[in-house]
Symmetry: C2
Subunit: 178 residues, 2 copies
């Protein structure tokens, strides 16, 4: 049906825009990626972006979801590995989007939708960690604490350069807690 085809086209166009935005956000950063640049990369007029996304923050959220989904798709194959290895893997996944993490933190104050996204993201990570820490025999009452500590260390390692040994050492140190 024509109606269905149109729907598919809309999804496709939105995807093109999100992919163009994703590349620019990662390569040159959120602030330096103007809506005009994104539009040009997606072969549409600048204001066309506003047909698909309420504003630039909403486009950022779409891109963030895409990145998280891509990582989560790969995660099942890591799930059975040791927790240290899993954490290092997660760290490296996030490293590719280093810049977007501080962008999210900066925009939380001005954008309620970014704030909500950030909350949900941390809730998801917390659930994932809680499940894994339980499997690894961490005492139930210590889990929220270790999950927080692990989050802090990963974020810390993301925003300050450390070599691979130091990263290993810090992650192991958190996980040795009991």
């Amino acid at each position: 049906m024509a109606k269905n085809k149109r729907h598919v086209d809309k999804e496709q166009k939105a995807e093109e825009i999100e992919l163009a935005a994703m590349e620019l956000f990662i390569d040159v950063g959120f602030d330096a990626s103007s809506m005009s640049m994104i539009a040009k990369a997606a072969n549409v007029a600048p204001n066309t972006l506003y047909w698909y996304f309420k504003n630039k923050d909403d486009l950022l959220i779409a891109v963030l979801n895409r990145l998280v989904n891509a990582s989560m798709k790969l995660y099942p194959s890591m799930m059975t590995k040791p927790l240290t290895e899993q954490t290092i893997w997660l760290l490296n996944q996030f490293k590719q989007t280093k810049g977007l993490i501080s962008t999210v933190h900066t925009r939380i104050v001005h954008s309620p939708s970014i704030a909500t996204w950030h909350d949900n993201f941390h809730r998801m990570i917390e659930m994932l960690l809680t499940a894994q820490l339980t499997l690894n025999g961490i005492p139930k009452d210590k889990i929220p604490f270790v999950a927080s500590a692990l989050t802090f260390v990963v974020e810390g390692l993301l925003s300050h350069e450390h070599n691979q040994e130091e990263e290993q050492e810090m992650i192991n140190w958190v996980l040795r807690t009991q």
Copy 2:
């Protein structure tokens, strides 16, 4: 001498601008504080700011130095207290400038002077922590590690809401490491 008086006036005007910028940066954030708003608050024309500061990032650096100096002026009275208490105090000092921390991290990529400032800031914190950890009998070879961990935990506690007990617990945990 007239020459000297002129010099004093220049310092005073620069101070007024920095104080106006500081208030706005803290209250509404760096991005939301336009150069025009800052100029109005300092009773000068917008382009006058560029006589005193090369650009908006340089004005940010001046404000950051002001904030750090204000904290460091209070620090000596804390120096003799237990390390846990010192860290909590430091955490609370930084809490007032929560937003500027992620601003700095975001701008590092685009501004070499912000990047340099950030490096120097962490070098200073590292030195301060190294001295204090030594006084507290932490083994010499463990110090760089504990200093990093403490930095990560403080930054983590700054960007994610935690209650006072949790803050205490996390800081104690890092310091218990040996």
